[in-house]
Symmetry: T
């Protein structure tokens, strides 16, 4: 088995509904251009507020994927 | 455009259902006395346990708002 | 009232649906052998990805419980 | 049982005798205006020195209390 | 000499020109209502960008002041 | 001389009197079942408050001991 | 309003004059290829020294921008 | 596929030769009683010195393994 | 001398033999597409385990290189 | 008033009785050769254990003092 | 080329005007007794306040230099 | 037995071959002037790159030793 090398990129996903949805949105977007996404870790959870309610969750993640070749 | 100054306060919201609900509860309560809440960031996620189940999520956040004047 | 001593153990719960479910799974499992679980704190939130979607949330928590005697 | 919201404030207590006394001083002072203080956590322990001796312990704590209403 | 107690509050000052100006703005604003501000420490330095230039520095500080009585 | 392996466990000791007493209580309790405790490090110092006074210090430590065999 | 996804990249700007200039240089360079830069946060401030003077400030920042599509 | 729960334990391995050997020693020892060790992460690297040479590397790791049942 | 701007990317190198080899593998792979790699810093050291032995070291590094132009 | 420059050194004081005594011992020792010690901050609190009791507190501090001339 | 060894010392520079000036003051002072200062990194930025204005910036840095011989 | 006081100094060792060799080089150099070096801890691992290979490991450590008298 080969010694793989992975690259990690940092993304912020946003969602009006939940932490899980914000992470999912970031991963779905990355998947459009990078097919072999492998794992993620949450770096920070923030959000903005409007009229006393969470308007949008902003979850920053690192996403790792295998570098080919 | 003016150079605003913001104040940050730290709150712990609690909820028996979810992280999102605990954060929402803290923000709703702060909104009763501070109208211009602008953003938040999650500082810590804890909880207490009863009978092998999460009884209450305790999520500590910093909330920022514009200082008038 | 007695000065209690508590022990903390570290667990990673996994779930295909949510952070809350992953934490709940870890606590339910620990409860099988330790009856007086008292509180938890989230240490890290990660996950693995398959086909551009979160396949499994992996949430690491510390769980505290009273040491008897 | 209700989902409480807590506020955390940050204080530095000082004492010429001990860490415990510095924390106690900060809590006693806060108690004059806030009756339902619930818990604290130590953030930082510092002090100033005079003539080769600790002159004053300076212990910074976060104090949490229930927000009514 | 008395054992003082200090309170710390967290503020974000903003400025289009510099880190120092953003901190100064936050302290000047706080001084309007709290006369005995004593020291500060920088917690975070951020900013927003417009047209490839820093539009506004956002510097978050903790400010400490003596609690009277 | 052999290359030892050590295990670290995490405990929270509590005491109404001092940080030192809380740590001592945790170590005494662990000593009941583990005889070769070797060192500790303080992870966190917290406490709960009643009537404007520290009611109980809660000091979390990691304790290391030699794994036999 | 759409749920945006942002990407964060990490850059080190350098300048012989100031922290602000080093950050500005990094952002101007990034702006050549990425038009919608939105915010930054300072990660680390270092520098090299020649003849007892700061020769070059090296400020590492994370820069966030909207991912189109 | 089932939602596994993992436990993490903390160990310090020691070796007079290298970081890798110290980690290997800790894992080999743990493997004597726990068969399904799955991953580790390095927490801290220390050592003691004798006569101006590293006498023993002390590497603290967290080791994760599946909790059966 | 010009004020350079550097970019930092994050990579995880893997190796069955050592930390140094895992770092070397990540840098060699990056060098295939980026010729002016300048420095690195270790962010995290992890690994997976098989049959009570380290099967593969996973070392995450940040790598910096000059941005041309 | 002049712009002072301060130097910080790191010391570990030890004591069989308390955290305060360990800090005091370190400062007294430093005072033998450096007369203008000004402030300290606690970096880490550890200790060794003998027969289920804290044998010696080991408190690491940074101590700051004015650099003359 | 030889494998150099570097020493790092920690200094706090102060200035009534700016962060850059405070760092410069600390480095100039160190340069009086240590000629081969090579690099620095900012550890902490604080200051004291008088009459609602920053009175003195206090910037703590680590400074590295080659150890001869 | 006496309550010892220890001093910690920070050094960066460099080596073209390994982490262990870089640490060893720093300790050997310190041993030339300080005979009672007792322990070390790794603070940071970095390095510079030439032609797609690690050219020199740079490992920063804190080294502790007993202060006599």
């Amino acid at each position: 088995m080969k010694d793989h090398v992975y690259k990690l990129i940092e993304l912020t996903g946003t969602s009006s509904s939940s932490v899980e949805d914000a992470v999912g949105k970031a991963i779905q977007r990355a998947h459009k251009t990078i097919k072999n996404l492998s794992w993620f870790q949450v770096v920070e959870t923030r959000g903005n507020i409007e009229k006393g309610q969470v308007h949008r969750w902003q979850v920053t993640i690192k996403v790792g994927f295998t570098v080919e070749g």
